[in-house]
Every structure is written in C-alpha cells, then in structure tokens.
Amino acid sequence: MIDTKKLTVSASPHQKSAATTTRIMLDVIIALVPAGIAAVLVFGLRALAVILVSVVSCVLAEFLSRKAMKKEDTVTDLSAIVTGLLLAYNLPAGIPFWIVALGAVVAIVVIKQMFGGIGQNFINPALGARVILMSAFPGRMSAGAFADTNRIGWGVDTVTGATPMGLVGLDGVKEGAPTLMEMFLGTTSGCIGEVSALALLLGGIYLMVRKVISPIIPCTFVATVAIFCTFAQGFDMYAVAYELLGGGLFLGAIFMATDYTTSPITNKGKLIAGIFCGVVTCIIRLWGSLPEGVSFSIILMNVFVPYFEDWTAPTPFGFIKEKKQKKAKEETKA
C-alpha cells in the first residue's frame, strides 16, 4: 500500500508562504491605527464616528454586493475594512455621515465589485471614491476641520479657511501657515488621516519591516516631490519641507500608491510609478487649480500600470533578442 497522503502529485507551487490576503490586510489595518489615533486626538470623536461609519458601510456593501451577485463571501479577507479606513482617512472630519456611506458604496460596489472584486479593480477603491466625492460635493470635501488638541469631544470647530496646501504656492509659504512641527505632528486642518506625518511614517515603517510593501514607491514618490519642489521653489527649503509634510503625500505614498492590485509588480515599474506620481502631484499642486494633487496622481498612475509593467517586463532566462535571433539565423545560413 502506498501512503497517498505523503505522495501527493500536484502542479506547482509546492511551497507556500504564510502570507495570506487576510494576514496582509491585517498588517495594513495595524499600520493605519496610529494615524487613526492621531486623528481622534486632533479632530475629536467626530473623526472616530466618520471612520466607523465608513468601515461599517464598506463591509456591509461588500457583503451585500457579493450576495446579490451570488458569489462567495469575501468579507473575511478584511480588504473592505482597509478600504473603509482609507476612505475615512481621505475625508474631512466634519462631513455628513450619509456622504461617507455613499462614498463607501461607490468604492466597494462601483469601483471594486463591478470590476470583479478584490484583485480586479483598476483604480484604488478608496481614492476613486474620494475623487468622486470631491467632484460631487466640492464644498463639503474642501472644508478643513480642526479642533483644539486639548479637548477631545464630539464637536469639531470647522475652520473654513485654507488647509495647509492652500497656503503654499510657487511664491513660497504664505502667512498664517502652521509651523513645520505642527504639520509633522498633525495638529493642523486637513483630512482625517492625512494630518499626522509622524503617525503615517510609523505605520509605513511597520509595513516595510513586515515586508508587506516595498519601499520603492513611497521613497521615489516622496523623493520626486522633494527634488521637483526644490527646483520649482527656487531652493526655498522651508517651502519644500512644507510641501512634503502638507496634504496627503505620506498617506498616499505609503498606503495608497502601494496597493497591490493597482501598482506595478516589477521593481523598475514601481520606480517609474513613484516618479510619475511625484511629478503629477507637483504639477497639480504648483500649477493646477486644485490645492492638492496626490489622489489624482495616484489614480492616473493606476491607469498607466499596464504600460509600466509592459515596458519593464523582465527578460526570461535564455531569451534571445529579435535582432540577435536574426543574426544567428543568418550565421547558420551562411
């Protein structure tokens, strides 16, 4: 008798790593926690409520849409929770809850499930929803909200002034802008999850140590913005630091430009994607009519991913280039 359990003959892969979708998504959720804590400290409990509404709506939308399409349930892979968190982090704290829920439905149903669910969407669901909400409710989405850090409460003092990105331009940083330390810690106005560069960096380092994300895209993205702004701002390093810490650059570069589904798999492709995002972000920030360009740059990059992968496809071992092949043929003929 042969022990069939020990002699399983199957197609490759034969050795699997412990990395499952659920585990990766759990890591991303853990990495997003510091930014969430910072958001609650800065904006109060209203921010927590927005995050909860977003996550619950995303999970419900995922569950119901999979059920309606009679496909297997994918709530347990936790990707809907990540989308919900990222969507909430991209919204101002004072936004009405029904708009949050609407954004969650757009992200999960229209952008993710209609294109085939996890791994099939062509743009990042949370960012796609953010851009749609920005076009749908421009006034609501640009209203910066900022509460006193000493007071953790339900209320949010909505500051209808310019967010940090509205205070920096080609002519440098304008008066009334927060200091660099305030921007690094996150005690400024802006979207829920984007304000604290410190918290986002902590999460990013965790993800890189856990090898969930490759550092290529975040590093090239931020470096490109830094270099581009250095030249565009005429070597005004204060303005450059302001550009780096302000807006959603860290949130976008660490958590959204690195989304597996919508970023290139090849390392060279990632390099191109990071540089592309940085250049587009700077162009929109400095010369565009919008104060912030991170989300649009990442969505544009998402659309170009097939080309980046095509250009940087690695050559298989033993592959002979067409020209050499012709030469080899001619030689054999001769």
Binding site: P96, L102, I132, S135, A136
Partner: protein, 273 residues
Amino acid sequence: MAEAAKRSALGELTKGFVKENPVLRLVLGTCPTLAITTSVENAIGMGVAATLVLIMSNIVISALRKVIPSKVRVPCFIVVIAAFVSMIQLLVKAFAPGLDAALGIYLPLIVVNCIILGRAEAFASKNPIGLSALDGIGMGIGFTVALTLMAAIREFFGSGNLTLKVLGFGTTLTDLFGLGDSNVLSAIHLEPIIIFILAPGGFFVFGLLVALVNLLSSRKGGDPSELNCCNVTEDADGNLVLVADGKTIVMPKVDTTPQVKKVEKSGKEAAEA
C-alpha cells in the same frame, strides 16, 4: 401569411423599445445621450426632434432605396438626413427658442447621429416604406424613453429637481412641492450630488443603465449578441467575420495556402462565435 407579416410589422415597431433599444442595447447615439441628459426637458426635446428626423429619413431613404447606387449610399443618406435636420432646426428655432438654446450644437449634430444613419444603413435601405416608418417610430420612442430615463436620474440626484416640461408647458418638481428656490433633496436633509449632472456622472448612469438592461434581457433568455445590426470585422487571420441578424458568417481570406486548413479554421471560428 398575412398574420406573419402583421406580427413582423408589430415586431419592427416594438423591437426598438427594449430588445434593440438604440441607446442601451445597440449603444448608438452616445454623444447626444451623454451631453444633453442633464434635464428631462432637454431629453424629451432631443428625443422628439431625433424621432421626427428618423421617421422622415427612414421613409425617404426606403422610397429611394432602389435608386441610390450602393457605392455612394452614405453621402445620399446624409443629404436626406441633413435636409430633415435643417427643417427641424428651423422649426425648433421658430417655436421653441429656449429648447434651441439648451440643445445648442447637439441639435444640428442630429445629422451625424449614429442611430439615424445606422437605421438608414441597416434597415431602411433594405426594407419597404411601411416597415421602415415603423422601425423609425419604434427606434425613436426607444431613444426618447432611454434619454428621458437617464435625464430623470441625473437631474433628480444632480439638482434635486425634475423639469417635467414639454415645449415650455408643464411644471417642475420643486414647484409641485412648493419648495421655491430649494430642492427636493435638501428638503429631506440631503444635498444634490452635482457629479450626476457633470460629464462623469453621465458616463456612470449610462454604464449602469446599459448593465441593467443587459441583465434584464439576459434573464429573459435573450442572447446579448443577437442584435439586428450588421457588423463586419476582420479576425486575426484576415478572415472577414460578418455578424447580421444573430448569424455569424465567416468569409475566409483568399490566399494561396492550402484550402483544407483554411476551411477547418473558419469552421472552428464559426463554432466558437
């Protein structure tokens, strides 16, 4: 025999409503569909104008179908269509100047509306006058209904209002509820979602409606590929693939390679199609 003819006449009239709806099933006339469906009033105006042109041009082209040489048929169709569009445009300018201002360039652009040229090419140039007129009426109604449906969705969510007006007569939803300058969505503590009346919203609503109609017709057992429009494409091997009336005909490319292989290939493709 007479009954069969009657049934097919009814079929030619009703096929444009849902089964072969020009906008949502044949995906023709997309440009005006996306551009003018920002209010119900505009959609009805555009739908009626295009329907009138469609019926008249179908009748005239059908009457001339034996006279028009096939080599220059498209210019001939365009001349006929352009004549009717000019007439409609002058009428709209004279009697509904508001609609003329709202539709703008899209009114004269009915000349190049794919639905009208498509029906002329695919139907009126091959069928008798009566059937062509019925086809025009059916397709026109299908076009108008699709436009109105799309405009209703976009206008309601985009501005919280509906302009239920034809040629300036009628009312709006806000007047109906006596809301004045406010809108219905604000009245129930929501806000107009302005992306619906912007161009991207047009694409979203259009895509969702096409998906919905495809879903409905696939549930009824209809095959999405069974459309009464002629479609000639060239496949990877250079064979001509002709799709018409739900049948697929593969015409092998004429070349010097052994015929046996070619026949096998085209047989396989026909089976796949």
